[in-house]
Structure formats: structure tokens, C-alpha cells
Symmetry: C2
Subunit: 254 residues, 2 copies
DNA sequence: CCTGACAAGTGGTCTATGCCACTTTCTACT
DNA sequence: AGTAGAAAGTGGCATAGACCACTTGTCAGG
């Protein structure tokens, strides 16, 4: 069982055993060494290593070597009922603004936010880091009319929804989608992962108490170091329908 | 901007344009034709096609050709407040039991379900299909002591939690995790997707009203045709903490 | 007209080779 | 002892070729 037939599979199994028996950060033998040891060609070795890199088990560094990757960070998305204090994702989270501009919404973002394509929005690209390391890249779109005074500082400190409240915006509801994706070149570069590595794509549209769309966010979370946990409460047919969840995707902040 | 430098990137961009301008199911030029047309080697073409296959944009069939892939299915995980009727994922969902056995829990599943490793469980592997096509593969583990009379029929009909209720088990709460993953060979084969294609990994541990662990599920949902949508309600600090969500990951059923 | 075999076209796996670019180590010179 | 340059070791990109395996289409024979 699990017996590899193809040479690439043999190499992969050999490497999986190395990964299981070495700590994160440990180097694995160089490609050329593996060629000799396993009697396969270099493209075949590279193909097997490619697969393990894409699944987040190995990390490659040009000119340095290939190393066993670290474990994932878990995001708990359940809090005590009614509590303000949300369960943070493990690690110390920070934000770093990569771009901040007031631009026209355009057709696509305009549709999402129910705005004219010409309406102005705050466009913010920001990097989310955990313990100093990139975890996600987010693209926020906030109608300028709703929070005209929004600043870069607002984007980098504390809970973003707290910041919005300080601008008179009381968020009420959000619809969010999650799907698996793979990184493109830009995202890969920003996040320090390979291109086409597994990732989670989040899209969220937030409305305030007055029914206005106040935020549209598109985020990419690296899949090798991030996962979501949720707690669901399910009742009998008569009581079903109530789940006490305070969902916080994608780390901190809301 | 977006200008490919590498030959592999040039090929990929060429193919992306083809994909955008052709409907699902349309064939793309054969590998050898692309070699000639783009003046690149076959391994280079294959590498670019590999990437598009892994992201779910193309589908390869041995001996037949390469075709533009179809769009994703969206799972809405929000229902009307208090309603029994849950928003179904699009398409017609069915289950097909692949395996059903009573086996010892083992160390890992035993820990999850708070059982002795020797305790017996119902182990069920089942395929979830939408419109007749594989969408997910699920591995259910239910303590035999909790539902001694569970049958294959229970696994294939209607809402699984309704079936458990018929066995006197009233599910109350579940904790679930979601992370991006890639398919292994077995999953790829069952789901009809390539190995190492992006997918969503779900793990869920369900408890009943008496605090017993009644179910542990491990599921793989293909990423090329599936995504999750949720609606979150957020209030002011005083009111925050209540989200009216009825989460149903992974299609139908719970 | 039907069937079977063969050819052509498709993707799949692998080897061999060359060269580029980055990083680290070692050696020689100051 | 320190520094700079070269060498060695690492991953990255690409080509060329051979052969395997699957699918489809065509043609000849019955």
C-alpha cells in the first residue's frame, strides 16, 4: 500500500520520510545528491520536490538549499457568546500598508459596493504579518463618501471596524466567501511563497446598520501556514437556525 | 505590467487568453502544436499546462486532449434566521458509500472521539456528488456504541443528522476546521481531478446534547468547483458576539 | 455494411545535457 | 587578522529526444 510505481513517486515518498523525521528548518539533500542516491534524473527530482513545495511541506531557497517547512497557524473563529474579546489567531499580528489611494471604484468594485464606477473609494493594499512574517495580502475598498478621513494609520492600527466606528460607520453585517486558490506571481512575491502554492481566497462585502455597503475586501491567505476553525451549534428542528459564532476570518483585525 | 519574461510564462499567458475566449469544454491546441506555434520545448509547454490544470482552469484527458474547465459551485452557508430550510449548494447532491465497516477506532480517531483506541466505530467513506459528478470525498467516524444500528442506507439518504436523531442521537455542536490542501492520489482518483490540485480540507468533530462526541469527519472538497459563502452579523461592542449563521460546510447533508 | 487492425494524434514519463543565478566557503594577499 | 575574489555548491530554466499509453479515425476485408 502506498507503493510508488513512478520514479517521481519514489522520490516523493523518500522525501516524505525525510520530512517526517526532521524538524522544521532542517535541510534536505541537494537535488544533485538525490539524483545520484536515487538513480533518477534531475528534472524527475525537481518534479517531486515541486509537489512537496506546493503543498507547503518543503521550502526552497535559490542558492541555499531546500528545507523542511514549518507548521500552519490556526485561526479560531469562535468566541465566547457575546464577548467582545475575540480569539486571536496564534502569533502576533500586524498590518503593513503597501498602497493607499483614492481612486474611482471602477465597474467591478462599483457593482460590489453599489456605487457608480466613477464614485471615489479608498483603495488599500496591505500585508498581514504574523511574528514578522507575511501571512496574507488584502485589498480593501471603502467608499470615500462613507469615511472621507480615512488614513494609512487607520489601516495599520488595531481593529479596523473600531477605526470605522470612529469615523461614524457602524458595521452590521458581512457576506464572505472562501475558496481554495493558488498564488499568482504578485501574491507569491509579497507572501514569500512559490507561485501556484495553495492558498485561501477570501472575499467579503460588509454593510453598516443603515444598509450601506461600507467595505469590499479581497484577501489571499497563504495555505501552508493558515487554517480556519469554527464552532457550530446545531439544535433540534424547532431550535435549529441559531449559531453563536463570531467569525473572524483571516486573522486580526476585523 | 504582466509581461511574461520566462518562456513558461509566455505559454501560460497565451493559454489564459485562450481560456478566456473559449467556453468550458472547448479543446485547446495539442502540446506539440503549441511547441511549434510558440517555439518552445514540450516540457516547457507541459509545465505551463500543468499549472493551469492544477488551478482548475484546464482539464487534461490522456489520449484525447486538453480542455477548458468548468466553473465552480458555490456553497451558501447562511440561512434565514431560525429556519430549518438551509440554503443548498447549487446542483443536485447525492451520497454514495464507498466503504462501510465497524473497526477499532485506533489511536488518532480514538483521541478525537475521546474513546479507547480499541472502541468500535462505524467507519464510512463516501463520495458526495453534484449533478452526478464527484464533488467531495468524506470519511466519517461514528462511535458504534452511540448508534449501533447505523446502516449504509443511513449514509446515503437525506440529512445525516436527521438519521442520527432517528437513532436517538441529538447533535448539538460541532467544531470544524477548514484549510486549503491539494489532492493525493487516492482523492484525485475518486474525485476525477489531478493529483496535487487545490482542494479544501474539512475536519469536523460533533458533540451531542449530552456532551458526547458523536462524529468525526474528514472531508476533501475539490477546489476547482467549490467555494464557501457565509454571512456574518457584527454589532457594536455591547451587542457584538451574536452571529446568526447556520453553517453548512461541504454541501448537503450535515 | 460491419468489424477489426493499423495508423495517426493525443497526453504521460523520463533521461541527458547545458547554462544561468544565487549563496557559501575557502584561499591568498595585504 | 581581515578582506576580496574565486571556486564550489545550491536551486532555476530550458532544450532535445525517446518511448509509453490512451483515444480516435480510416481503410480494407469479409
Amino acid at each position: 500500500m502506498g507503493e510508488a510505481i513512478l520514479k517521481r513517486e519514489q522520490v516523493r515518498d523518500y522525501l516524505l520520510e525525510l520530512i517526517e523525521t526532521h524538524p522544521a528548518g532542517a535541510p534536505i539533500p541537494a537535488e544533485r545528491v538525490l539524483c545520484q542516491r536515487l538513480s533518477v534524473s534531475r528534472p524527475t527530482v525537481r518534479s517531486a520536490v515541486d509537489e512537496l513545495v506546493n503543498t507547503g511541506l518543503l521550502v526552497r531557497q535559490h542558492g541555499r538549499g531546500t528545507f523542511v517547512a514549518r507548521a500552519k497557524i490556526t485561526q479560531e473563529m469562535v468566541a465566547d457568546t457575546g464577548a467582545m474579546a475575540l480569539p486571536r489567531a496564534s502569533g502576533t499580528w500586524e498590518s503593513r500598508v503597501l498602497e493607499h489611494a483614492r481612486i474611482p471604484a471602477g465597474a467591478r468594485v462599483g457593482r460590489r459596493l453599489h456605487l457608480s464606477p466613477a464614485a471615489e473609494i479608498h483603495y488599500i493594499a496591505r500585508l498581514r504579518l504574523v511574528d514578522g512574517e507575511p501571512m496574507a495580502v488584502e485589498y480593501l475598498h471603502v467608499p470615500a463618501s462613507i469615511a472621507p478621513g480615512l488614513t494609512v494609520h487607520d489601516m495599520e492600527s488595531g481593529d479596523f471596524y473600531d477605526r470605522l466606528r470612529e469615523h461614524g460607520v457602524h458595521v452590521h453585517e458581512a457576506v464572505q466567501s472562501i475558496e481554495p486558490t493558488v498564488t499568482n506571481e504578485s501574491e507569491a512575491s509579497i507572501l514569500g511563497v512559490p507561485v501556484f502554492a495553495p492558498a485561501l481566497l477570501f472575499e467579503r462585502l460588509t454593510t453598516d446598520a443603515e444598509g450601506r455597503q461600507v467595505e469590499y475586501v479581497h484577501s489571499i491567505y497563504r495555505g501552508d501556514r493558515y487554517r480556519i476553525v469554527s464552532r457550530l451549534t446545531l439544535g433540534d428542528a424547532a431550535a435549529r437556525g441559531t449559531v453563536d459564532v463570531q467569525a473572524r476570518f483571516g486573522g486580526d483585525p476585523f
